[in-house]
């Protein structure tokens, strides 16, 4: 009982700390933090570019991963080669266990040379590279959720739909998917949450330039990478204020998304 209280208090403490630290930022110098300029030497601590970077990374990768996950899910349900499905499912579970830093390392020496030499894109550090790897990172999350949602539905409806003359593909598209639209959105949100929160891939692959990315092949910096970089380079106490603002934004968005996706996934 006491331990429960302790672990509850810990969670509470995390919230309080971040709020406490970021309050002065929000109360006094709001305009400074929410601007596009990041030039610590001149006193500009705007993190808006990073917010935008995180958003674009998460949005693009989640929507791409979602479409791919739908395909994978349909394959898991429809394919007649069951051994392939078994392999695919265990591969997906294994992917969840692969450390992100290993993904980053592999991409650093496989994907980046491809972008650099094959497509002639400067150094190769870009939003695109980060998106590619983040898709791999969040695919297992979305896929496992989708699988959990659609498999019971499939067992319930497949026979009836077949009796009505649906082909399996039609059953999937016209019966299963419309039936669990809301829950699927919840699964996608979970993936989105994970895409926002990942640090290592944007840090290693996205180039970390504090600018608004003007295209997919531009370098950018995400909020998480920003926190890691600034603490690593240790620039002094004024910069930290903007960090806590960044942390606050991350915390709030992840908490909201968590609540939303939880209610969406659980709904019938």
């Amino acid at each position: 009982m006491i331990l429960v209280v302790i672990s509850g208090l810990m969670l509470f403490a995390v919230f309080c700390f971040l709020i406490w630290f970021s309050l002065p930022v929000f109360l006094t110098e709001t305009s400074l933090v929410f601007s596009l300029q990041w030039q610590p030497e001149q006193g500009h601590f705007g993190i808006l570019a990073m917010v935008f970077g995180t958003l674009s990374l998460a949005l693009i990768s989640t929507s791409a991963a979602f479409v791919i996950a739908l395909g994978l899910n349909s394959f898991c349900l429809l394919s007649r080669r069951r051994w392939l499905v078994v392999i695919l499912r265990s591969l997906l579970k294994f992917m969840a266990a692969v450390p992100t830093v290993v993904y980053g390392l592999a991409a650093l020496f496989l994907l980046l040379p491809l972008l650099r030499n094959g497509l002639q894109l400067g150094s190769g550090y870009s939003l695109f590279a980060a998106i590619c790897m983040v898709i791999l990172l969040i695919l297992p999350v979305i896929c496992v959720m989708l699988d959990n949602i659609t498999t019971p539905l499939w067992q319930q409806y497949a026979l009836g739909a077949q009796a009505l003359g649906f082909s399996p593909e039609q059953t999937y598209m016209r019966v299963i998917l419309p039936h669990c639209k809301v829950n699927i959105c919840g699964a996608a949100l979970l993936g989105f949450n994970r895409a926002i929160g990942d640090t290592m891939l944007p840090l290693m692959l996205a180039g970390n330039a504090t600018q608004l990315p003007s295209g997919v092949f531009d370098a950018m910096r995400s909020l998480t990478a920003h926190i890691a970089l600034v603490i690593a380079t240790d620039q002094g106490s004024e910069v930290y204020n903007s960090l806590f603002a960044a942390g606050m934004i991350l915390l709030m968005s992840s908490a909201c998304i968590c609540l939303l996706s939880r209610s969406l996934v659980g709904r019938n």
């Binding site: 395909g71 394919s79 392939l84 496989l110 593909e169 999937y172 603490i231 991350l250």
Partner: protein, 317 residues
């Protein structure tokens, strides 16, 4: 009935739907083949690059292995200190998180007050979804506060990193325990009560042993998660050249951080090879944990939702 309504509304669009449906079949095949080949290439690449470097030299550099293991001689060009550092920090984190995690799991599964339970499980969910770097930021600001208030010599250290990792893995353990307990048959509790056991006795002697495979798998998940996480330890005390961890309040080396550091700032081909070797070691470590986990889950043969839910927890954050 529901099905008929759907059929009716969908029927009008069925001609276009046929093409669409055929498309999803092909799309599924394409995606899965692509995914399997990409993952084979990625893992194969790491193995291809890392396997030749795997050996005593990777771990100990030029130092004598036995002396290095005993900590008599420092290891400069090997990943042995990083391995030990990772092991220590993971062990510390798990031992810190295990008791509160299991306790809150038991409480979540058995508490009488439904409202408090709901709030708490919500909190656990949110905690599971928090980006790991925020835990690192939390640890970092904790140090700032400690320094400013009553503990001026506080610094980032192994203990702090273990504490933050413990915060990170706490929800996984809690959730796994809750799932394992609540998937047990209800009769067990009733029988225990009928035999005159107090609730504590029933939990400790009856329910926990029954649920131990589930709890073990949760712990294993937590270990895997703590071993792979880089963002937290990067902010709370991992450095590139610390040697073997000297104590709880010292800085330390860790495998994921070594990989990150070497891949970002390698100066020679040898250091790069070391990064690949370390990546392979880490990959092997996590896949061993994964295999054990899968074996445990298969042996437990629990209902699909229990295992699925813990997997979701694993992949959530």
């Amino acid at each position: 009935m529901h099905l008929f309504v759907i059929t009716f509304s969908g029927g009008a669009k069925l001609i276009g739907a046929t093409r669409m449906s055929r498309w999803i079949g092909h799309w599924g095949k394409l995606c899965s083949l692509l995914l399997i080949s990409i993952m084979l290439i990625l893992i194969g690449f790491i193995i291809f690059k890392g396997l030749p470097t795997l050996g005593l030299k990777l771990f100990f550099g030029d130092t004598d292995p036995l002396a290095a293991m005993m900590g008599q001689k420092p290891v400069w060009e090997g990943i042995w200190p990083a391995c030990v550092g990772t092991l220590t920090v993971v062990l510390c984190a798990v031992s810190l998180a295990a008791l509160p995690g299991i306790a809150s799991g038991i409480w979540l599964a058995s508490a009488a007050e439904k409202r408090a339970q709901k709030v708490f499980s919500l909190a656990v969910d949110i905690l599971a979804g928090i980006p790991s770097i925020l835990m690192g930021l939390f640890g970092f600001s904790l140090i700032l506060v400690l320094r400013a208030s009553f503990f001026p010599q506080a610094n980032v250290s192994l203990l702090l990193a273990a504490f933050c990792l413990a915060l990170l893995i706490l929800p996984y353990i809690a959730c796994a325990t809750q799932n394992a307990l609540s998937s047990l048959p209800k009769q067990l509790t009733v029988t225990g009560a009928a035999l005159g056991m107090t609730q504590w006795q029933a939990t400790y002697r009856l329910l926990l042993p029954q649920a131990s495979p589930g709890i073990m798998s949760g712990l294993m998940l937590a270990i895997g998660r703590a071993a792979e996480d880089t963002a937290v330890i990067m902010l709370t005390g991992a450095v590139a050249n610390a040697g073997l961890p000297g104590g709880l309040l010292q800085r330390f080396e860790a495998l994921p951080f070594t990989i990150f550091y070497l891949s970002a700032q390698y100066q020679s081909q040898q250091e790069l090879d070391m990064a690949f070797g370390a990546a392979l070691v880490l990959l092997i470590l996590t896949s061993i944990i994964f295999t054990l986990l899968a074996a445990l889950l298969r042996r437990r043969n629990c209902n699909i939702f229990g295992s699925a839910k813990s997997l979701i927890k694993e992949t959530m954050c």
